[in-house]
Symmetry: D2
Subunit: 319 residues, 4 copies
């Protein structure tokens, strides 16, 4: 059995260095922005002013539109433990006949490794606290989240930056378990001619779906390339508004003792930075390479779900 | 009981003139664009070239972002026969503890009168034929649509035009049943200083949600303001790519003998023009009025559902 | 507007006498059986021994089988705020062709007024305590109930007794809001020639679905005939194992100050007596009248849902 | 890797003899009972008269109640491609406070290998024909089945017979792929002291869940013990009303050329005999062995789903 086996991901050889729980807590406090914005529930999206919107729009050159959402995946697999639902509710034979209507039901427990989705701040609590410091137990119940929900976020229009790590490193993909460090971000900026700035959406490509297409599916909960927590202060210092990835931004296995998704905790709970998980960045990678530009207009348009901890999305990049 | 009763909509006094089935068929053939595009499944979205995208982007002035999606509505009512589902699948107590994760399931049989959604061409067949002429019975099955599905459409970035009829007419809303005619469209263009053109997305505001807020919900399947079929040739001649509304674009009751949703039939099945139903256009109306401009960048980012006849959406306007 | 209006139920003229919160708490303690059984999660079903099963079986005379489950109701209405889901997932066109298979998805948020269902003890907590005294907050979470769930209950085979109140009173139904008192139970026993005993399932018919068929649907949350809490000590003294009804056993509006479903609280939380709600008892009423017997074999076969607070069911009576 | 590997089921060494498509069609005609009953939609359940019910009830000796339904399985796996859904819709924090209510949503696309369920006649068509000869395409649509649905079946109370093959053969289970022949049925009758008769429900135990517990899950669609079609004429001759199994009654791989589920086709489409799939028969096996009796009262109480092609069930045996 080769070490590229789709069902047996390689051990993450470089998910480290390990980080102790205590070190992580120091890091959490370092990047924390609680209390910074009046409209706390929107978190770091407060960074995206009308001026940022105008700047983002001004990046459009060719008018090329690239969709970043994966196909709605109804088939279970190692990376799809909660298959999405899609049923036809009318095939033109249920309601009045002319015109005939075809209708469908969709459903998804969308957090996980398969559905392209946005994480709102309410998705994650660290030590029982949501972004801003409120107690999760009081703010999130069976009726949904009363703080930091996706309806409070609304849509995002901003500058997107693709950190195309495989392109920078000259590989097809990053091996599962490969941590992306601050030095990698800086090297990518240099190589790709782009600088992450205030209000930007940073999209980290690790080549997951390229690898999946060639080697088959594996469980990214076991091993996936993504940011090491050590890279987060750099991103925090730049004032990012959103992190997205074809993984889920966290390198796995987690290098942090006792914390299974440390980048989630830092981004969502400390910094109020929403996440985009499970994007398909293959077409965007090709489009950026062709255009020779890695910054673009990005539009994220979640469903308006009051109390929702996120939303399935189909983000759009315009080059 | 007043004639503004929320549960007893007034009879549509001006949904006419009545149109016979034969006249409708002539109209259908008149606006039909079958065979026009190589990528037939995308229908009229083929009209939106990269040049249109650039033009749309160039409309942005203030950077004001307006969301057009209604709240995900889980409460049944006269306009919500199939309430959307929203359940919490994890309240931080199901999976590993740190960070704790809040997760939710969403589901919807989204066609209807409550969920803001996109209709893909596969949603509607007239006389058994989908857009392009294929037999619906062969192209749509329990596994979904094999032609004209929402995954084939992808996202849309184009110029949006708001036909704000109540603003033009100086009313709070159009009464349910009020038909919007070609003359209304022309008058709106004149009054609002905008001209619908090739590749545009036309958003028709009838003030449904303003009326609903003030008078309560009613069944828009019984009575709703919307286009009379007689207005469609004008829109077809202009080369529209998308029709959207806070209703569903069709005036109801239908003025066409034996055809319950004639604008749907013309737009989707004859012209390949997708529809946006149940948008909340109140904030956009205010934003356009304030800006004094009724054309803007519009982004529609449906979920990437292979075989789907549409998608719940949260479209975004940028002024 | 007549006082039989389907949408405006009459005020419950006789839902009283009113009961104070303090009186209710005394009643709760009076009927409480916490600590009585080793297998506490099965509550009063511990009363149904193998001997009771044999007795129940011995009641069968004619071999007439009567189904008590309402049709799965996918249509919203005043008594169906959360319509059940039913979608075809395969119409013989999704999987391999011979034989062709038709498949369907069902779904329901089944507690409410429309689906025939069993309430397990975990469904209800009073003052934060489940049956047995455990804290609901610790025992029930997003993953389900860890005590008193329907999987712990399993099926029930016992003697069923139909208290057919309209038959006793010579009416078609009890008016919504009519309370059923201990005296009514005793009178029914006398008139119907049956005595409720240890381990029995008591089915209270109020004629809800007869009334619904003739006058239309109304919201039984607003007004429904059912037991007054004053009748519960009698039932408790008899050692009932299960209460069922074509309503939900509670008279509504509740006569108890500050407690919306007091019979639910007494039965489930104090006595560990599961409930069957929304049964269709019309056919059983006719069958019992024809047989001249109101006791029979009853089988309740819930779905085996670990953590479930109940289950949709189709109980079966055999006369 | 041992030949008991849970993920690599052994090839079915004895799923044969192979049967040609032509031979199968002859068999189909041989066992076909189309036109036999006035209430055709109930199929072979017409065999179960009130007299059969009385006989079944008279079998009860000890009063032991055994549940046959598997736990509702929300975890995907090789035998669970469509995990069932279970979400809490209220944890006592959504509706009015006292008593507090815990509520849940369940959902399932229940046909498959994981949910214990009943197949109604409408589930299967052979050569486009449902039981009775009606065209599936006309009788089953997006709104469900208009013939042979589970609501037409209603509940079943009859004599159950456990054909406990592993007990007969002195093994823990039948290996996946092992066909059960007429000779096996006769040998089991002899060994277990029971004779299958008119109106009986035959439950075939192959020990699937014993094997699964010890060796792990595998895909029973690839290999599972079950009846060879050659055993069906014997069962047909005996007048069985129902077939059930801890598999799905069909040996897999199918020995019939071009027919993936031939016992399903014969039972449902030719004979109108409903099926119970994925039962957990381990406890029943132990109870029958202890009692020394393999015939008992069986109650199958499906949900009353109009148009449903079956139902999740929790059947009950009473010894």
């Amino acid at each position: 059995m080769s070490d590229h086996s789709p069902t047996t991901p390689p051990d993450g050889p470089r998910n480290g260095p390990p980080v102790s729980g205590r070190e992580f807590d120091v890091l959490f406090d370092e990047v924390r922005t609680w209390g910074r914005w009046a409209d706390a529930g929107r978190g770091a999206w407060n960074r995206v002013t009308a001026g940022h919107v105008r700047t983002a729009v001004s990046l459009v050159r060719s008018g090329t539109v690239v969709a970043l959402g994966r196909p709605w995946d109804t088939v279970p697999g190692p990376d799809n433990a909660k298959p999405a639902l899609h049923f036809m509710s009318d095939l033109g034979d249920v309601e009045a006949p002319e015109p005939s209507a075809h209708k469908d039901f969709i459903g998804a427990d969308y957090h996980g490794k398969a559905v392209s989705h946005l994480d709102a701040p309410a998705h994650i609590a660290y030590r029982g606290r949501l972004y801003g410091g409120g107690a999760a137990r009081e703010l999130v119940g069976a009726g949904g989240a009363r703080f930091g929900d996706v309806a409070a976020l609304g849509p995002l229009v901003t500058r997107g930056v693709l950190l195309d790590l495989p392109a920078v490193l000259g590989t097809e993909w990053l091996e599962p378990g490969r941590a992306v460090h601050a030095a990698d971000v800086l090297a990518a900026e240099e190589a790709l001619g782009v600088t992450v700035g205030e209000g930007d959406a940073v999209l980290l490509r690790v080549g997951r779906f390229r690898r999946r297409r060639e080697l088959g599916a594996w469980d990214p909960g076991e091993a996936c390339a993504g940011f090491h927590v050590g890279a987060v202060p750099l991103l925090a210092g730049r004032g990012v508004a959103l992190l997205g990835s074809d993984g889920d931004s966290d390198v796995r296995p987690s290098p942090v003792e006792g914390v299974h998704s440390p980048v989630h905790a830092l981004a969502l709970a400390a910094m109020g930075v929403p996440l985009l998980d499970n994007l398909d960045l293959e077409a965007l990678s090709a489009a950026c390479a062709e255009a020779g530009r890695y910054a673009f207009l990005l539009v994220v348009a979640p469903l308006n779900i009051p109390g929702g901890t996120g939303s399935p999305v189909g983000p759009v990049a315009v080059l």
